[in-house]
Amino acid sequence: MPAVRGDGMRGLAVFISDIRNCKSKEAEIKRINKELANIRNKFKGDKTLDGYQKKKYVCKLLFIFLLGHDIDFGHMEAVNLLSSNKYSEKQIGYLFISVLMNANNDLMKLIIQSIKNDLSSRNPIHVNLALQCIANIGSREMAETFGNEIPKLLVSGETIDVVKQSAALCLLRLYRALPDLTPSGEWTSRIIHLLNDQHMGVVTAAVSVINSLVNRSPDEYKGCVSLAVSRLSRIVTASYTDLQDYTYYFVPAPWLSVKLLRLLQNYPPPDDPGVRGRLNECLETILNKAQEPPKSKKVQHSNAKNAILFEAISLIIHMDSEPNLLVRACNQLGQFLQHRETNLRYLALESMCLLATSEFSHDAVKKHQDTVINALKQSAALCLLRLYRALPDLTPSGEWTSRIIHLLNDQHMGVVTAAVSVINSLVNRSPDEYKGCVSLAVSRLSRIVTASYTDLQDYTYYFVPAPWLSVKLLRLLQNYPPPDDPGVRGRLNECLETILNKAQEPPKSKKVQHSNAKNAILFEAISLIIHMDSEPNLLVRACNQLGQFLQHRETNLRYLALESMCLLATSEFSHDAVKKHQDTVINALKTERDVSVRQRAVDLLYAMCDKSNSEEIVSEMLSYLETADYSIREEMVLKVAILAEKYASDYTWYVDVILNLIRIAGDYVSEEVWYRVIQIVINREDVQGYAAKTVFEALQAPACHENMVKVAGYILGEFGNLIAGDQRSSPLIQFQLLHSKYHLCAASTRALLLTTYVKFINLFPEIKADIQTILKNHSNIRSADAELQQRTVEYLQLTSIASTDVLATVLEEMPPFPERESSILASLKKKKPGMTGGVATTGKEYKGTMNNNALNDIASPVINSNASADLLGLNSSPPTAVPSNQSNASLLVEVFGDSGISANNTSALNNNIGSSMNSTVAGVVVSNEEGLKKLVSKHNGVLFENELLQIGVKAEYRQNLGRISLFYGNKTNSQFMLFFPSISCTEQLQKCVSLQAKPVEPIIDAGAQVQQQINVECVNDFSDLPTLLVEFSYNGPQRFPLKLPLTLNKFLEQTVMDSETFFSRWKNLNNPSQEAQKIFKAKHGMDGEVTKTKLIGFGFGLLENVDPNPENFVCAGIVHSKAVQVGVLLRLEPNMQAQMYRLTIRSSKDTVSQRICELLFEQF
C-alpha cells in the first residue's frame, strides 16, 4: 500500500500547518478569518471554480468547523460536489454534509435528490457513499424517502457485498429514526437468510439489523434462531486458519460471534431439540476453549476470546435452562475474580451480579433449584463479598443496587443468608445508597420471628426458625439509626419485643443447641436495642432479661450477659436499671470460677460506676485486687485509678485509694498512675498534709513497694514540713525512714530520693549535716551510675556554696501542674536549650519549669538527657507519647485530657444553614455539615440538600491538582433566576490553595441540573475550607453560605513501605511538634473493615502486617502540594472494650500532622 501521507490537497496541508504554527488563540482566529474571507471571495467570484478547488475549499471549511468555529456559508458548494463524478470530490461533499448539516437544512431536498441519483448509480462506490451518508444523518425525512428502497438493495442478488453491508446498517439507522417503519413481509425470509451469506462482513452487518427487527416483531423473525445457531456453530468449531480475514489474533470472527450470541438472547432457548443441542454444544465449546492454553500471549487474543466467553455466559444466564452450563459459567467467573487483569475482574464481577440477582424460573432449572441454582446464587453472593473486601475500590455499579437489595426478598432462605452478608459489606461503604435494605430487612425479620418452627422447615434449627439469618439481619440493621418511617419502626419494635417475649417462654427442647440458637438471636436483638438507644422500655426489658441470665447456671450465658450489660450501662435510659444488678455482679467477681467471666464483671462494674456507687465499687475492686488473677491486675489497677479520680469528691479518699493500689499491686501500677497522684496532690492544697502523713505511714511497713518509695520520696520532699511538727515524724525520722529504703531501690528511684534529700536541706536546715554526710558517701559521690554521681556532686556543691536565699528559690515548692500540659510541654522543651544560666531564676518562664530537671540544668550547663525514670519524665515525655503503651493507658489519659478533646470538637464548622434560610425551607435533608463530614473520606456525594436545591459533588484528585464538579439541581417546579454560586477563600487560604471556577448559567430550569467545574491546585498545606456562597432568586432572594469539601487529605496519596522502614521513619519523627495525637470515644461502631475503608478513602495506604498488634492500623501517605511534599505516618489503636481510639499522626510538618489528625478524628 502506498504511503498516504503527503498526497491530496496541498493548499489544505499548508493551511493546516499554518494553523498549527499559530502561537496564540488570537493568531489562529486571525488566520482563520483571513482564510474565510478568501474562500468567500472565491465562491462569490465570477470565475467558475473547478471540482478540485471546490473540494479543497469545502474541505478547509470543514476543518475550520472541526476546530470549533461556526461556518455560515459553503453549504451550496458542498451540495454541488455531490453531483461530481470523482470519488474524492463526492466523498468530501458527503463528509461535509454528514458533519455539518442538520436535518432541517433548506438544502435537504437537493441533498436527497443527489442521494437518490447516487443510489441508482451503476458505480457501487457511489451507492456506498450515498448509503453511508443516509446512515450518518438518519433523519425522518430520509427514512420516509428511502425506507422502502433500501431493503430491495439489501436482498438483491445483484448488489455487491460492500454495498450490502452498508445497506444493512443504513436500514438499521432508518428503523431507529422512524420506529413505525417496517419492511414488508416479503423481505423477512430473505433478510433472515443473510445470516447464511458467504461473506462474513455481510453477515456481521446483517446481524445488527436483524437484532433490531427481532426486537419489534420477534415472532416474524423467529426463523433467525436456527440460522444463527448454525452460523455460530460453524464459527466456534472453525480453526483459526479457516476464517482467514476474519480471524483476529487466532480467534475466529470474535465480533460476529458476540453479535450472534446477543441475537440469541432475544429468544427463549430453542424448542427444536436439534437446534438446542447444537447451541448447547457451542456454549460448551466456548467454555472449553477458555480452559485451553492461549494461542498467543497478546492481550488482543485473550480479550477477543473472553469477549465471546462473557457473551456466552450472558446467554447461559438468559436461557435459564441448563443447570450444568450455569455451574460451569459460575466456576469460570470465579476463576476470573482472581485474575491479575483488572478488566477481567471487573467484568466477572458484573456477570456475577447478573448471576446472583437473576430469577431462575425455567422448569428444568427449577428442578435443580435447591441443589444447584441457589447454591450458585449463594456462592456468587459470597464471592462478591470476598472480592469487595479484597478490593475496596471495586463497587458494583448503581444499577445493581436495587436488585441486590431485593435479594432480601428471595424465596430461598439460603440465598438471603448469603446476600445479607454482602449487603452488609456494601452498606458499610455507601450507607445511603443501600438505605432501602432497612425496610426489607425488617419485614424479612418480622416474617421469621413470627413464624412457627414448622414454617421454615429446612431452615429451622432445633425448633428455632432461621437463627443465623435472624442474627445477620439484626446485625445489618445495626448499621443504621432507628428507621424514620414510623411503620417500619413499629414493626421492628414488635420484632424485638417478640424476641424478648420468646425468651420467657418455656423452651421447646432441653437440648443446649436449642437454647443457644434462641439466645444468639436474643443477644443480637439486645445489641440492636442498645445500638438504637431510643426505646427506653425495650432497654429496660433487655436489662431485666440480662439480669436473669446473670444468675443462670450456664457460664456462657452469664459471661454474655455481663458483656451485653456493659454496653447497656452506657445508655442513659438503662443505666439505672443496670445498677440494680450491682450486688449480683460483685458477687460474680468474687465467686466466678472462670477468669474471663470475672474479667467481664470487672468491666461491667467499671461501666456502671457513677458518683453514687463509686466508693463501694472501688472498695470492692480493691479488695478483689488482692486475690485477682495476675492477668487482669494491670487493667484493674488502671480502672480503679480512673474511677477514683473521676468520682473523687474527697481527695483524701483518692489518695488512700491510690496508695492502697500501690500497696496491694505495686508491680502493676504503671508510671502514669503514680505520676498522676503526685500531680493531684501538688495541685490540691487541702490534701497535701494528709498525703504526707499517709505516705509516711505507708513507708513504715516492713516490705514497701518501690513505687511507694517513689511517691513517698516525692511527696515528703515537697510537703514533709507539714508533718514535721509531730515528734513521731520529725525531719530526721522522715529522712532516716526514707534512707532505710535507699539501698533496696533501683538507680532511678535513688536519683529521685537524692532530689528529695536536697529538698530536705532546704526545708529542714537542721539535718543538713546528716544529709551531706550521705551525699559524701563513697557509694554516691563515686557511683558507677553517671546520673547518681552527677546529682550527688551537683547537690553537694549547691548546698555548700549557695546562700540560703538562692537555695530557697531553687528548691521552691513545685508549682501547680497546668491543666493542659501537652502543648505547653512541647514549647517548654523547645525553650530549654537556651536556659542554661542560673540567672533567670526569677523569670516567669523559668518558674514554670521549676522541677528537678530544671535544678539539674542550673547546676551544670550540661543538659542531662538521661531523665527517663525520673519524675521529670512526667514532663519530658507525657505518657501518651510512648508508642508502645498498652491501650489501657489511654483510658487514663482520656480522663486527663477530657477538656482538651472537647475543645477541639468545637472546631467543627458552624455555618448553620437552617438559621440563614427563610421559612419556606423547613425540611433540610442533608445539612452542609453532614455532607462535609461524609465527603472527607469520599470524593463523590451530596454536599447539601433541602427542599429547593440539591448540590452534588464529584471530584478527582491527582497529586497536588484536583477537579471538583458541583451539580446544582433545582428541585422545585419553577425556574431559579439569577443563579450565582461564588467561591471565596480567606486570605490565609488564598496563599495555600488556588481555585478556578468556571461560570455557570444564571438560570436553572425546573427540575434541571447544571454543572460547575472548579480546578484546584494545592500550593501549601492548609486547614480552612473555601466558602461556597449560592445565591439565586426563587420566591424572593435565596442565599446559602456553605463550605466546599476541599480538605487537606484530598491531596494525600498512599504510599507503601515495609515494617522496618515504617518504624525507622516513625522514630525519626520524634519531635513532639511533629506529632499530633487524639484519644477519643468511638462515635460509630468499631468494625475493622469499615475503619479500613475509611482510611483508604481518606487517602492513606494501609500497611498490613506492620504493627505487632493486628488490631491496630498503620498507614502511610504523602501530602502533595506545589511547595512541598510531606510524608505522613499514622497509627490508629482501637480499644474495643473501652470503645475508644488513640490516633497518632506524625509528619515532618507540624501543621500537617495537626490538620490530618483533626480531619481523621471526626471520621471515627
Binding site: 498516504v4 453491508q165 476474519y246 458476540v258
Partner: protein
C-alpha cells in the same frame, strides 16, 4: 449500540468525533469535555471501562491519544475494546505507522476509515484485509 466515537489527545484536543445519536452542538461540546475529564485521570491499572452518564465508555490509550467508544451499559465491553484496537491497526497500516499528525492532516480520510468499519452505531466490517482493500480502491480513484 455505539453512541459516539471520540479520539482525543491528552490536552483535550479532539482529533475525531463521530456521533451516532442526534446531539446538538452544545451537547456535543459538553460530552467532549466530560469524556476527557473522565478518561484522562484514570490510571493505567484501572479498567478500560468507565461508567458515564447512562452509558459506558470503553477506551484505550495509544501514545498520547485516547480512543473512546461510548456504548450502552449492557454492551459487551471487551468486544468494543478490541474493536478499538482493530481500528487502530487498520489506521496504522493505512498511514504506515500512524501518528497524531496523520489524523490531523488527513482528517477527511479518517472519517472514511470509520465509515468502513462502523456504521449506524454498529460494527460494520472487521476484516482488516477487506477494509484496507476497499480504502486502497478509494485512494486509487482520485
Amino acid at each position: 449500540m455505539i453512541r459516539f466515537i471520540l479520539i482525543q489527545n491528552r490536552a483535550g484536543k479532539t482529533r475525531l468525533a463521530k456521533w451516532y445519536m442526534n446531539f446538538d452542538d452544545d451537547e456535543k461540546q459538553k460530552l467532549i469535555e466530560e469524556v476527557h475529564a473522565v478518561v484522562t485521570v484514570r490510571d493505567a491499572k484501572h479498567t478500560n471501562f468507565v461508567e458515564f452518564r447512562n452509558f459506558k465508555i470503553v477506551y484505550r490509550r495509544y501514545a498520547g491519544l485516547y480512543f473512546c467508544i461510548c456504548v450502552d451499559v449492557n454492551d459487551n465491553n471487551l468486544v468494543y475494546l478490541e474493536a478499538i484496537h482493530n481500528f487502530v491497526e487498520v489506521l496504522n497500516e493505512y498511514f504506515h505507522n500512524v501518528c497524531e499528525l496523520d489524523l490531523v492532516f488527513n482528517f477527511y480520510k479518517v472519517y472514511s476509515v470509520v465509515d468502513e468499519m462502523f456504521l449506524a452505531g454498529e460494527i460494520r466490517e472487521t476484516s482488516q484485509t477487506k477494509v484496507l482493500k476497499q480504502l486502497l480502491v478509494y485512494n486509487s480513484l482520485e
